[in-house]
């Protein structure tokens, strides 16, 4: 057995979740920015920038769920039970949003307002509860035997609420910088103005989580601050500082794609930081990927299909982004 199947599957799922966060992040962000942009024309434009790609983005969420069940059934059952209500709320938010997306374009003026509300509400709920799940996950899950051992509302901690809000800021900034890249004129100018406070908000959130996590968890503190780890991991905070400085500078000139790429960089660094804190535990703080993995027959069998199809999905996704590159004009047609 030379191949470490649980390791390969952990990397696939980490990759899938990261793809989900950075891709669905900016289109959820569009919904979060809707309340700031009340006009119909600009709302149409905003939605058009993500219309061709948003449902492909959610592909990764379904794939993540099915992949987790196939490769790590124990983690799938414990995590989804622990975060029962937040996950249900998140799914309902995403459904609302997905349907609003399609029906908004087909609705009369009176009904469009209703679908706009559904789009905003769905985006806020889905994002906030994703953040709650993230915070609860970092905070650790109580396991008894092979099942979730905690209570109904264990996920409702100050830290989780904070990460929920932090994710709202992160997705709003992703959406904002995406629009800077994809639009022009007045809408773009307003997004540039909005990006600055959001950037500071994201920096504050990253700093707060970076301080809060090791303070609350001595194992994570030891992992980061003991030699020689501290030298290996030092580039993460340094790169955050560099990316943030660069982002603020980029927002001052006549920005195009720069702020979006730099925000993606910040989100990726934050994601890496959490990965460093938690690895190799798939149910923190106690169950590792090897303990939670299914039998090799299941992991190997599913790997064949995953290795065949994931490159095709990536290729198709890349193609869709290539086809719909460039700025999006006003109005729908």
């Amino acid at each position: 057995m030379g191949i470490d199947l649980p390791l390969i599957w952990a990397l696939i799922i980490l990759f899938g979740v990261m793809m989900y966060v950075i891709m669905d992040g900016f289109d959820l962000g569009i919904g979060l920015l809707y309340p700031f942009m009340p006009g119909k024309a600009e709302r149409d434009t905003m939605m058009n920038t993500v219309a061709p790609i948003w449902d492909g983005n959610e592909t990764w969420l379904v794939l993540g769920g099915a992949g987790l069940l196939a490769a790590f059934p124990l983690a799938y059952s414990v995590i989804l039970t622990a975060f029962y209500l937040p996950i249900i709320f998140m799914l309902l938010g995403l459904i609302f949003r997905g349907v609003a997306f399609e029906f908004r374009f087909k609705a009369s003026d009176a009904r469009r307002r209703w679908w706009d509300g559904a789009f905003i509400g769905g985006s806020v709920v889905a994002t906030f509860f994703q953040g709650i799940v993230l915070g609860g996950f970092v905070g650790g899950i109580k396991v008894t035997g092979r099942a979730y051992g905690g209570g109904v509302l264990d996920w409702l901690t100050p830290f989780a609420v904070f990460t929920g809000i932090a994710l709202l800021v992160a997705y709003a900034l992703l959406g904002c910088t995406w629009l800077i890249m994809k639009t022009a004129g007045d809408l773009q100018a307003r997004m540039i103005r909005l990006a600055r406070p959001l950037s500071w908000g994201l920096l504050f959130a990253i700093l707060a989580i970076s301080v809060w996590t090791p303070l609350a968890n001595s194992d994570i503190a030891r992992r980061w601050f003991s030699a020689p780890n501290i030298f290996w991991f030092a580039p993460v905070p340094v790169l955050v500082a560099v990316a943030f400085y660069w982002l603020l500078r980029a927002l001052r000139g006549a920005p195009h794609g720069g702020p979006f790429l730099l925000t993606l960089g910040l989100v990726f660094l934050g994601y890496s930081g959490l990965g460093i804190s938690l690895w190799p535990y798939i149910i923190p703080p106690s169950v590792s990927i090897w303990q939670a993995a299914g039998p090799p027959q299941s992991l190997g069998f599913t790997l064949v299909g995953a290795l065949l199809v994931i490159p095709i999905i990536l290729g198709y996704t890349g193609f869709a982004y290539y086809v719909f590159r460039g700025k999006v004009g006003d109005g729908y047609e």
């Binding site: 790609i53 379904v62 059934p73 059952s77 039970t81 249900i88 199809v309």
Partner: protein, 477 residues
């Protein structure tokens, strides 16, 4: 008692979300194959009517597909939120099968759906037909994986239990388990029947309203041929599936038949209607036909099969539920059979497009196939109880340890959200159907592309925009 309530709520929630979901994939399967037939006929005959029908039904297909994707998102998570002990115990088998179903669906979406819905003017007719064909094959392959998983839960094999968990030993045995071929055939044909009834009802609706043109006639005629051909086949498959169930899950058959015990040396009667009473172990108000139960299930005059009383009370499925869900399914199936033969008679008499009684019946029967599918699934799933994996794991041991309050909250939310959103979707589909196919639409249809409203990554954008503001206008926007 509190834990029983939570179990019941978890079952209701799963039943509710899966019932909503299954309607969309069932129509997706049927319509994808129908579109293949339409395009093949168009390529062969070059008659415009087939292309008009293709473009019309591909719009309905697109909306239906999108609602299937959105409602399916929930299903990928329900196994963990509500059935975590089951997922931990059997995830090594059901997880990979579910993952393959998802991968197949995405492969199909990534590869061919865009070409099929938006590629008329971008690719040649041969390649376009190939894309339609691949989408249809993809829906069938997707169904194959998910039915393999469900059938394994009904008739498990090819596994071992190590450290209290299922480990797959032989994937071929897991997938091709004893009930799988019958369930796959039964469900696929059911999807075709349900689609034929919807197509036929749409045609009949327009004929009744006085719109009588080539497209309407062709779709009505095709649907009625399909019904006539497929309904008898379904009866045959259903019979074979029943015999298979008797061999592997006899308690389910006993519950379906309301059969409590055998009388020595005597054939089993068929209880046409009645009210099985689980407490007192009898059927109230039973109307019985002697020996017919034996004839149907053993194909002999006085054969016997186990009654419910030969199982301990704790191992019996709820006969009141499955007795009736089965009769709803079979009753609707017989009505479909009758409609098929009626249409043949009317066709022979030359009144297929004029007989108002026939056309009205076809309209009323529009949802019959979908209701029969739901009734059939309730029969097979409730009939598997009290097991989640038959004779291996009990449903009571499979459920997540939630309390009733949070299950109640989430169930209420699901009910409200599903009825609002999928209600809106259904109204929209009905509007497209009421609008009917556009004649000679093919040349006017916008083909989509970069910067245009009809964009390939969104199946629903294949459907017309703003239908409600201009109900009678042709679908150019």
């Amino acid at each position: 008692m509190a834990s029983l309530d939570a179990l019941m709520l978890a079952r209701i929630q799963f039943g509710f979300t899966i019932s909503f979901h299954i309607i969309f994939p069932a129509l997706t399967i049927g319509m994808a194959s129908y579109l293949v037939v339409l395009e093949a006929l168009w390529l062969k005959t070059k008659q415009q009517v087939y292309r008009d029908l293709y473009l019309f039904w591909s719009k309905v297909f697109a909306v239906n597909f999108a609602m299937g994707v959105v409602s399916g998102l929930v299903m990928a998570y329900q196994f963990g939120t509500n059935w975590s002990a089951f997922s931990d115990f059997a995830g090594a088998v059901t997880g990979p099968l579910l993952a393959y179903e998802v991968l197949t669906a995405f492969f199909l979406e990534a590869g061919f759906l865009g070409v099929m819905l938006f590629g008329w003017s971008r690719v040649g007719p041969g390649l376009h037909f190939f894309a339609t064909l691949m989408v249809a094959v993809g829906t069938l392959v997707s169904a194959t994986w998910i039915l393999a998983s469900n059938s394994w839960m009904q008739t498990p094999q090819g596994y071992a239990i190590l450290d209290g968990r299922v480990v797959p030993i032989d994937w071929l045995a897991v997938i091709f388990n004893p009930s799988f071929p019958y369930r796959l055939a039964h469900m696929t044909v059911a999807a075709y029947l349900a689609t034929a009834l919807v197509v036929g009802a749409a045609g009949a609706f327009h004929l009744l309203r006085g719109r009588d043109d080539a497209a309407i006639r062709t779709m009505t005629s095709m649907a009625m041929w399909m019904l006539l051909l497929v309904a008898p086949i379904q009866v045959l498959i259903g019979d074979l599936h029943g015999l298979n169930t008797l061999a592997h899950q006899p308690a389910k058959i006993a519950a379906i038949e309301g059969h409590w015990e055998n009388r020595p040396g005597e054939g089993v009667p068929l209880t046409l209607i009645g009210w099985p009473d689980m407490e007192r172990e009898i059927n109230h108000f039973a109307v019985e036909l002697p020996r017919l139960g034996s004839l149907i299930l053993t194909h002999t005059w006085d054969g016997q099969f186990p009654g419910l009383k030969s199982y301990p009370r704790s191992d019996r499925p709820n006969a009141t539920v499955v007795f009736w869900s089965f009769r709803i399914m079979v009753g609707l199936g017989l009505l479909m059979l009758a409609l098929g033969f009626w249409s043949l008679w009317a066709r022979w008499r030359g009144s297929l497009y004029r007989s108002r009684a026939l056309l009205r019946s076809a309209v009323v029967m529009a949802p019959a196939g979908l209701i029969a599918i739901l009734a059939g699934w309730i029969t097979t799933e409730a009939g598997r109880q009290p097991w989640v994996v038959y004779n291996v794991m009990r449903t009571a041991d499979a459920v997540s340890a939630h309390d009733a309050t949070q299950l109640g909250i989430s169930l209420a939310l699901f009910v409200v959200v599903y009825f609002v959103l999928f209600g809106a979707g259904t109204v929209y589909v009905l509007r497209i159907l009421a609008h009917g196919p556009a004649e000679q639409a093919a040349e006017d249809e916008p083909q989509g592309g970069p910067g245009q409203p009809h964009q390939p990554a969104r199946p629903m954008s294949a459907a017309p925009d703003r239908l409600d503001t201009a109900p009678a206008a042709p679908t150019t926007d």
